[in-house]
C-alpha cells in the first residue's frame, strides 16, 4: 500500500501538485487520469524518489520512503516511463534484464526470467531476444517496456502511459493482456493514462486530477454513477451507460452457446434445434469453425458443407474483452450475438444483444 499525505511539489514558482492525499491499495490497479500538465507524472515520480516533494510524506507499507536508499527503492519498484525509453544500444534481452543485472542475479536465472517475461508479454523469445529497440514496432517496444519493469518481480509497478504510443486496436489487446497478467500477479499498480476508456476498463480505483489537485478519487463505477461536480461530468461525457460496459467482461456475462459438431448431418440435428435454427459450428475439439442457419441449409448435406466459415480472430472475442467490445463488434458486423473463444479458439459461450440490454436494465435499477 502506498500512501501520499499532504504532498506538494513546486518547480521554482510553478506549483505542479498540491494537497495530494491519496492511497494506492495493495494488489490493485489505481489509475490516474487528467488533462496534460495536471501533475500525473510528477505524482508518479515522487513515489520512486525521482522527484522530491516540497512538502508532505509518502509511505510504502507504512514506511517513509525517505528511509530507503533511492537506488535500492527504485530497483524494487517496476517503472514504465512515459515514451518507453528502451536503451537503444542494448538488445531486447539486455533491456529486460537491466534490473536483475543490477541486482546481480546469476546468468542462468536471468536467462530463464527473460524468456519467461517475453512469453508473459506475448512475444516469441526466439525472435525477439536478440533484436534491438529500433527494430521493434511501437506495440512491441511497449511490451518490452512492461517486461523490463516486471523483470525483478517487484510488488509495485508505476506505469506512465504504458500503452500511449499504439493504435487503438493494439492498445485494446495490450490492455486485455495486461488485465490477464494482473489477475495472475496481483501487483500494486499506479497507472497513468490520457484515455478515459482505458482508465475505466483497467481501474480498481480511479483518480481524476486537474491543475495539480485530485478532483475525485473513487471506484470507476461510483465516479460514473455519482460524478462529484460539473468538471467530472464533462470529463466522463454523456455516454456513461456505454462507459459502464467497459467494466464488465464477456466472461462474466456470457451464456452457453448453441453449437453443433461440423461432422453432423443437417437432417439429424434439425429437429433437435428447431427452436434455435442459428448455430455455431465447432470441430471435434470444440474449436469454432463457423456458423450455420438450419432454416436455409440443405438437409441432405453435412454441417461442414453448409456452414459459413469464420476466420480465427475476426468474428469472435476473448473472455477478457469487455461488453463494450462485444457490443461495438456486434453493431459493426450487424449481428445479434457474438461467440466467445479462448486462446486456442475453442468456443466458450456467446454474448447477445438481448443479454447486454438486460445487464444495462439491471444496472439502471440499482
Amino acid at each position: 500500500m502506498i500512501q501520499l499525505r499532504e504532498i506538494e511539489k513546486y518547480y521554482g514558482e510553478l506549483k505542479a501538485v498540491s494537497n495530494l492525499n491519496v492511497t494506492f491499495p495493495k494488489g490493485q490497479i489505481s489509475v490516474i487520469i487528467g488533462p496534460s500538465g495536471c501533475g500525473k507524472t510528477t505524482t508518479l515520480k515522487m513515489i520512486n524518489l525521482m522527484v522530491k516533494p516540497t512538502h508532505g510524506k509518502i509511505t510504502i507499507d507504512s514506511k517513509d520512503i525517505n528511509k530507503f536508499h533511492p537506488e535500492k527503492l527504485r530497483r524494487s519498484i517496476g517503472y514504465v516511463i512515459q515514451n518507453i525509453g528502451l536503451f537503444p544500444h542494448m538488445s531486447v534481452s539486455n533491456n529486460i534484464s537491466v534490473v536483475p543485472r543490477l541486482l546481480k542475479w546469476s546468468k542462468h536465472k536471468i536467462r530463464e526470467r527473460t524468456n519467461e517475461l517475453l512469453e508473459l508479454v506475448g512475444l516469441d523469445s526466439k525472435i525477439y531476444l536478440e533484436k534491438y529497440p529500433n527494430q521493434l514496432s511501437g506495440g512491441e517496444a511497449q511490451r518490452i517496456g512492461v517486461a523490463r519493469a516486471l523483470a525483478a518481480d517487484p510488488s509495485i509497478l508505476l506505469m506512465d502511459e504504458p500503452f500511449g504510443a499504439v493504435d487503438p486496436l493494439t492498445r485494446e489487446i495490450l490492455q486485455t493482456e495486461f488485465l490477464e497478467i494482473q489477475n495472475r500477479v496481483k501487483k500494486t499498480i499506479v497507472f497513468i493514462t490520457h484515455d478515459l476508456d482505458e482508465a475505466i476498463k483497467l481501474a480498481d480505483k480511479l483518480i481524476i486530477m486537474k491543475d495539480g489537485k485530485i478532483i475525485q478519487d473513487d471506484s470507476p463505477d461510483r465516479i460514473l454513477t455519482e460524478p462529484k461536480n460539473q468538471f467530472i461530468r464533462d470529463f466522463i461525457g454523456t455516454d456513461r451507460a456505454l462507459k459502464r460496459l467497459l467494466r464488465l467482461t464477456s466472461r462474466d456475462h456470457m451464456h452457453d452457446a448453441h453449437h453443433v459438431d461440423e461432422n453432423e448431418r443437417v437432417d439429424e440435428i434439425v429437429s433437435k434445434f428447431a427452436e434455435h435454427p442459428f448455430l455455431w459450428v465447432t470441430d471435434s475439439r470444440g474449436v469454432l469453425k463457423g456458423w450455420i442457419n438450419l432454416r436455409k441449409a440443405d438437409h441432405k448435406k453435412s454441417v461442414s458443407d453448409e456452414m459459413t466459415l469464420i476466420q480465427p480472430n475476426t468474428l469472435s472475442i476473448s473472455p477478457m474483452n469487455t461488453l463494450r467490445d462485444a457490443l461495438s463488434k456486434m453493431i459493426g458486423e450487424g449481428i445479434r450475438s457474438i461467440p466467445i473463444v479462448d486462446r486456442e479458439h475453442r468456443l466458450q459461450g456467446e454474448v447477445t444483444l438481448e443479454g447486454i440490454q438486460e445487464v444495462v436494465n439491471r444496472q439502471n435499477q440499482i
Partner: protein
C-alpha cells in the same frame, strides 16, 4: 564475381574486408620502415643525387618518434578531454561548461607554431614542447564530441536508467559512455589525423619525427627526402583514420543496427 565471393564469405568470416585492408597496410608499412627498400622506390625523385634518404636517422626511428608524439599527445588528450567532458555534463560541473569550452576552443585558435614558440622558452627544445602543442590541439575535438555525445542522449533513456535504479556511475558507464562512444571516437579520429600532420612541425624545434626529412629535403632541395617524410606521414594518417573507423563501427550507431 569477386564481390559475390566476398559477400558469401562474410557469414563465416565477418571481418574479411578489414583483414585484407590490414594486410595491405602492413605491406606498405614494411616498405616504409625498410630503408633500402624505401630508397629504391624514392630513387627516381632524387634528381641524380647520391643522397636519397635522410641521413641522421633511419626510417624506423623517424616513424617511431612520430608515432610516439602522436600517440602520447592523443592519449593525454583523450584522458583530459573525455574527463573534462564528463565533468562538464555532470550536475556539479554544469557551471564550468562555458569556461571549459572557451578554454579548449582558445587552444585550438592558436596556430601550433605559435604554441611551439611559446612553450619552447618554458620547457626547452625537443620532444616536450611539441607534445604540449599537439595535446592542446587535439583537446578540442575530443572534448567537444564528448559533450555533444553525452548531451545528445535522449531524456527518456536517462530517466529510464535512473528509474531502473542505476547509480550515477552505472548510468555513466552503462548508458552515457556506450551511447556516446561513437561520437567520441569520431572526435579522437579527427584529432589523431590532424596530429599526424601537425607533428611534422615538431622538427622545427628538434623533436625528431617525419618532419625532419621534410625540413632537410627543403633545405637541400631534395624532393626524395621531402617525399620520404610526407609520404610516411600521410600513410600513418591514413592508417590511424582506417583504424579508428574500424573501432567506430563496433560502437552503437543511432540509425541502424543491421550492418
Amino acid at each position: 564475381m569477386m564481390i559475390h565471393w566476398l559477400k558469401r564469405e562474410h557469414r563465416f568470416f565477418p571481418h574479411i574486408n578489414e583483414f585484407i585492408q590490414l594486410t595491405l597496410f602492413c605491406l606498405i608499412f614494411f616498405v616504409i620502415i625498410n630503408d633500402s627498400m624505401f630508397s629504391f622506390f624514392l630513387e627516381p625523385f632524387s634528381m641524380g643525387r647520391d643522397v636519397i634518404l635522410y641521413q641522421r636517422a633511419n626510417q624506423i626511428e623517424l616513424v617511431a618518434d612520430h608515432c610516439a608524439l602522436v600517440v602520447l599527445s592523443t592519449v593525454a588528450a583523450i584522458l583530459t578531454g573525455v574527463g573534462l567532458g564528463i565533468f562538464a555534463t555532470r550536475k556539479m560541473g554544469q557551471d564550468f561548461e562555458p569556461l571549459i569550452q572557451s578554454i579548449s576552443s582558445l587552444s585550438q585558435t592558436f596556430p601550433p607554431v605559435a604554441v611551439l614558440a611559446l612553450t619552447v622558452p618554458a620547457v626547452g627544445f625537443g620532444f616536450t614542447p611539441t607534445l604540449i602543442a599537439l595535446f592542446l590541439f587535439s583537446l578540442l575535438p575530443i572534448l567537444n564530441n564528448t559533450i555533444i555525445g553525452i548531451r545528445s542522449i535522449s531524456l527518456e533513456v536517462l530517466e529510464a536508467a535512473v528509474g531502473m535504479g542505476m547509480t550515477k556511475m552505472q548510468v555513466l558507464f552503462q548508458i552515457e559512455l556506450p551511447l556516446s562512444a561513437r561520437i567520441i571516437s569520431a572526435g579522437v579520429r579527427t584529432a589523431v589525423v590532424i596530429n599526424v600532420g601537425t607533428a611534422t612541425i615538431g622538427a622545427l624545434v628538434g623533436a625528431g619525427g617525419l618532419g625532419a626529412p621534410i625540413l632537410s629535403g627543403l633545405e637541400q632541395n631534395n624532393p626524395a627526402m621531402i617525399i620520404q617524410g610526407a609520404f610516411s606521414a600521410g600513410f600513418i594518417a591514413l592508417f590511424f583514420d582506417w583504424f579508428f573507423s574500424c573501432i567506430e563501427k563496433r560502437f552503437y550507431i543511432s540509425e541502424n543496427k543491421n550492418d
